[in-house]
Assembly symmetry: C2
Homo-oligomer: 392 residues x 2
Amino acid sequence: MALRVPGFLAAGVACGIKDGGALDLAVIASERPAVGAAVFTRNRVPGAPIRVSRPRARRGRVRAVVVNSGISNVATGERGCRDAREMTAAVGRELEIPAGEVLVSSTGVIGVPLPMRRILRGIPMAVRALSPAGWNRAARAILTTDLRPKLVHQNAAGFALLGIAKGSGMTMPNMATMLAYLVTDLAIERSWLSGVLREVVDSTFNRLSIDGETSTSDSVAVMANGAAGNRPIEAGSRRGPEFVRSLAAVCQELVEKIAADGEGVTRLADVVVSGARSNAHADRIARKIANSILVKTALFGSDPNYGRLVQAAGAAGVPIEVGRLGVRVGGVWLLRNGVPVGGTKALRRAERAMKQRRVELAIVVGSGAGRATLLTCDLSYEYVRINAEYTT
Amino acid sequence: MALRVPGFLAAGVACGIKDGGALDLAVIASERPAVGAAVFTRNRVPGAPIRVSRPRARRGRVRAVVVNSGISNVATGERGCRDAREMTAAVGRELEIPAGEVLVSSTGVIGVPLPMRRILRGIPMAVRALSPAGWNRAARAILTTDLRPKLVHQNAAGFALLGIAKGSGMTMPNMATMLAYLVTDLAIERSWLSGVLREVVDSTFNRLSIDGETSTSDSVAVMANGAAGNRPIEAGSRRGPEFVRSLAAVCQELVEKIAADGEGVTRLADVVVSGARSNAHADRIARKIANSILVKTALFGSDPNYGRLVQAAGAAGVPIEVGRLGVRVGGVWLLRNGVPVGGTKALRRAERAMKQRRVELAIVVGSGAGRATLLTCDLSYEYVRINAEYTT
């Protein structure tokens, strides 16, 4: 039925890292050998789980993933790496597969050692609980400050693709802050899968910025187990583009769920930059705007403050043609060719657009062909409250 | 008397840009010819006043400054430049000096044309009000969301140095967001003065970051009129270092006043980065930490969350020796050589330190000699309120 992917099992259990019996340990596994690929944070202080998982993902044989939430296993020294390896060894033992085919993630508070006794008691429980219908519980077990689990499922022509994700704070550009795991029953050649994943992550997760922060634990992994019985998809395969489209669609849907669940988010904005000299320039401007706390507070206050967009664009450090500057908020032009247009009437219309749940903030910075878009959100009292009170 | 600098006059008047009769127009002038230098924002969309003032400052003959608050004259097209020039022409006429020796600044809302009728009525009023004791009113007339005027005066051996500044939001690295004007009665050779100002701004104003935003209007200008009767100070002069020290001290005191008056600020932090491969690397890490909204909300919540410092440092895009990572909060080591130290007792002591009005956040990122410091502040509910409600 829906929410199943042939040959894949999932489970989420409570092993006691979080208080109150909340789910905090997830295992995903393929019943048959599978290939995998992963993309990790570009933060220079990656968590121990990433240091353990990265070479395994590179080898491309991935049959299971184990994830705990509540504690991130970052800044924990050599002990952290030992703990991460031990988690994968426990999963390997229980599933009777090589530990080297198990990836591991941890998310939560930084700098605290993992309670390994609880985790090692939890892993056999999780493996026993593995089921083709366990995705909802797995999706819940990987959450931290998220309000809602994030699960997307697609049954396309002849194959299934399912993704779960986690993320709401500390979410940003260089591999938007989160964990996401995708599984498909297609057979896929692993080096091709790895390239495709990188490409899709760049156009989906990396186009999201909640708060300009890059977590130390970001990971996106995909597994393909071939239960669909197709000839392995590789470069040039007829079915390649179809899979890439599905993967991009599922990832984008996860991105939208993450953005909507951002900490204290009341409003989303699509930042659209055009007219830059290059896409790279446009991207720098889009990130500067998306991460500007003055833009984000204006978004919270529904203030069509195009001056702040201009200020942020100008601070991106790339050339801008001042005489061609344009700003369009919610479809309403407020600045064209460097001069305000439309008067108070336009401002009122833009303000109304900014009261919606989602608004487009478009800026033209010159006559070039460079373009970029980015999804961001507002900065509310609630964001401050959550992050002043919660120890991540 | 105190608060005077021989040969300099200042005034602040209300010309009706702001509501309620608030002071909004300042003029500073030297009674005798003076040299000047200025440093402006690196924002790529500088306001019209900067486009008018920059070449004048470069020529180095500066005898007066006119500043309005309330409206910034940014993103106002060619009209903005005409208006800025007209302001300086009016000051020139009233003072009987060339308009080319007058600098102009505007600060406040972006994208709104200046109410030139009011300003041109206000300039003669301001010139008539010029007085050797007008500094307090001038310091008040340049404010926007600031709560307090910022004025620093130093009477050193044989000369006077006085500075006023404005700035509390949109304050950041590349020429920290603000306006500052400094005057001295020393005679100073102008190209030397220009180099000295750049150097002092780099070590004072540019070491402050309130919110990571770079305003379109940042300007620091200095005038020296020689009323002290000294031989002009130039490169190699015996009195040079003494003047540089005074200038740096006055600028630093203005920086502290700006930081203390930051929008919604409840707490300041000195970010100290050491062990980087170079000072430039350390600077990038310090800025990433100082501008991290997760660090800033932790600062607001007095949460000794060294994980967020580590995360921000890792996101700066420069190399970090993970095994040598150290974090010291308020003098208390929480992480050394990549491993947490001191346990909950250390955390409690660090938390107490973080409840102070000012705290040091030190991070060691390796074994290199690169160092940087930066002054920053917390992110409070009040900051969000001010910036969600106030149209800049």
